[in-house]
């Protein structure tokens, strides 16, 4: 299908004394797994609630499937939403929960039965076994599945998920992540996923929007966001990053660790050189930047060594294969390619 499922154009929303989101522009493609990633309080849930119609923006417009819905109430929008606390109806059983959206639409009884069964099967819950169960008789993971089935039953134009995996333990979370991917492929719906967990967003998404303090920092594929962060915030928030303050000098950079060779300077006088821990190679001289360092700390992280190395008085985090033998207080040479560093204005 062509076109966009969700379009936000210059959307702002303030609460009584603070601006929750400011001038958000987003175009989410049909069938896309789109994540909104940001720290807590960054306004990502507000964006989701604006799309759902639980809030109306102060400025800007919102379109769903090409249609302007800026001030259309939630119950006329036909979006699916999985709430952070799931918000299942405790007085209804599993079948009735999933059927709720169809019931209020006055769907024929036979159609409801068929659709509920189908949706429960999509989320891998046996309709025969679970249909009659009360919500409080289900485990956390099963409740999650019911919440997803309930949202899918109305065949929403977009499925919104508000940190749905936050309450699950790590193993179950990983399992539900692959389940979500599978479900999205099965129903081919557009999925907007709000999370503060960068690994969830990186693993699952087609594209990610990084939000900070109510503003959009960057939109891109997981690889783009990780490898070419547009702002210092994105660089810091996604993955690990070393930042080295430096000043421009003779077409290169002078810093606490010495001269740094970089491939492109954007004209700023004072900059931050950002380099990922895994881009720093230990014991390798064939690089644009090579420094003498002392190993401060070595931690084994399953297949990798996380090494803290000191150059003069500046500490760098490095990630290297655990095949490499390094010990604390060992003198090493380390370095990186000029292309691997990213420059931000300080």
């Amino acid at each position: 299908m062509e076109g966009f499922a969700v379009e936000l154009d210059g959307v702002s929303k303030s609460y009584s004394n603070f601006e929750a989101v400011r001038d958000i522009k987003l175009k989410i493609r049909r069938g896309e797994f789109f994540s909104i990633l940001g720290p807590s309080g960054s306004g990502k849930t507000t964006i989701l609630r604006l799309i759902a119609g639980l809030l109306y923006p102060d400025k800007g417009s919102i379109r769903l499937m090409g249609e302007d819905v800026t001030f259309v109430p939630a119950y006329k929008r036909n979006v699916g939403m999985v709430f952070q606390d799931l918000a299942l109806f405790p007085h209804l059983n599993v079948f009735e929960n999933v059927a709720y959206g169809l019931k209020v639409r006055k769907t024929p009884e036979e159609e409801i039965k068929r659709k509920v069964k189908e949706c429960l099967e999509i989320v891998n819950l046996d309709p025969e076994k679970f249909g009659k169960r009360k919500i409080n008789q289900l485990s956390g993971g099963q409740q999650q599945r019911v919440a997803i089935a309930r949202a899918l039953a109305i065949e929403p134009s977009v499925l919104l998920l508000d940190e749905p995996l936050g309450s699950l333990d790590l193993k179950l979370r990983q399992h539900m992540m692959s389940e979500l991917k599978r479900i999205q492929k099965t129903v081919k719906t557009t999925l907007v996923y709000v999370t503060h967990d960068q690994s969830e967003a990186l693993i699952m998404s087609d594209r990610i929007a990084v939000i900070n303090q109510g503003s959009l920092e960057q939109i891109g594929t997981p690889a783009e966001i990780y490898e070419n962060p547009a702002t210092k915030f994105v660089a810091e928030f996604i993955g690990e990053m070393n930042f080295i303050p430096a000043e421009v000098y003779n077409g290169g950079l002078i810093s606490e660790i010495g001269y740094i060779k970089v491939s492109n300077l954007n004209g700023a006088k004072r900059v931050l050189v950002a380099i990922r821990p895994e881009k720093i190679k230990i014991g390798c001289r064939n690089l644009d930047n090579v420094y003498n360092a002392v190993v401060e700390e070595v931690a084994y992280v399953g297949g990798f060594l996380s090494v803290k190395a000191r150059i003069n008085d500046f500490c760098l985090k490095c990630l290297t294969s655990s095949d490499l033998r390094v010990e604390e207080n060992q003198k090493v040479e380390l370095g990186w390619r000029a292309d691997d560093a990213i420059i931000f204005e300080a």
Binding site: A52, P73, Y75, K76, A87, F89, G101
Partner: protein
């Protein structure tokens, strides 16, 4: 030994409620002799009228309390935001003043209106005294409903009116149940408000009071009390059984 936690209260109730009730039961059968005469006297239409009076008063009180309390509880639980605790305080505030004093105070308000010693005066006084007992359990249950279930209903396509009937109201069922019990039962036996504000409006409460303390007819008063208790017990049992079944 695990029973000792319950012991103090059980002893308290045994000595101060169940033992006196046993005495009442004995008196109702004509203690120190034995007769059913006091019970047969109570079958008099006069007492039936009193029972019906009490039932009408308690029902009107309960219904009015519910009508007033539900929107307020809904507002406090789901819409009041930062004013929630302050509003709850305002609801509880009347409890800081003695029930008797409040009823006296309402007399000074009703007198200039020319309402004293009328049925409306009794109803006004009853609703005034019992309203918090309806508000608090309703508030507690609506508070638990929470905003997200209501929002989930909207997102699933239910209009606000549908959401109220299918989600909010059923989820506050336990609060409605508790509120109705907490208001209806004491209202049925109430005698202070009808005595002070109602003049001649006779309820079970006022008649029992009269039998014991004005006519010193302990036997008939006891019989009336026992019948009253039996009826309340029956009514509550039916109510509880039915509430369990009703799917709102």
């Amino acid at each position: 030994m695990r029973h000792f936690l319950a012991l103090p209260a059980i002893i308290y109730l045994l000595v101060l409620f169940y033992l006196p009730f046993l005495i009442t039961l004995l008196y109702s059968f004509g203690f120190p002799g034995f007769t059913l005469k006091h019970y047969s006297e109570i079958l008099d239409p006069l007492y039936l009228k009193v029972f019906i009076n009490s039932l009408i008063l308690a029902s009107i009180t309960t219904v009015l309390c519910f009508i007033l309390a539900y929107p307020l509880s809904y507002y406090i639980a789901l819409k009041a935001g930062k004013w929630k605790n302050f509003l709850l305080l305002l609801v509880i505030l009347p409890f800081w003043i003695s029930f008797l004093l409040r009823t006296y105070a309402i007399m000074t308000l009703l007198t200039p209106l020319g309402l004293m010693f009328t049925f409306p005066a009794v109803v006004i006084g009853m609703v005034y005294d019992y309203l918090p007992f309806m508000i608090l359990p309703l508030y507690a249950s609506l508070e638990r409903v929470g905003r997200s279930q209501i929002e989930a209903s909207y997102v699933l396509g239910a209009k606000p009116s549908q959401t109220f009937l299918k989600i909010t109201l059923p989820l506050s069922k336990s609060g409605i149940f508790a509120g109705v019990l907490l208001v209806f039962i004491p209202a049925l036996g109430e005698f202070v408000v009808p005595t002070m504000l109602g003049g001649t409006y006779a309820t079970i409460g006022t008649i029992t009071w009269d039998l014991f303390l004005r006519y010193h007819n302990w036997w008939k008063g006891s019989a009336l009390s026992v019948v009253y208790m039996a009826l309340v017990l029956l009514a509550i049992t039916i109510y509880i059984k039915r509430s369990e079944r009703i799917e709102l």
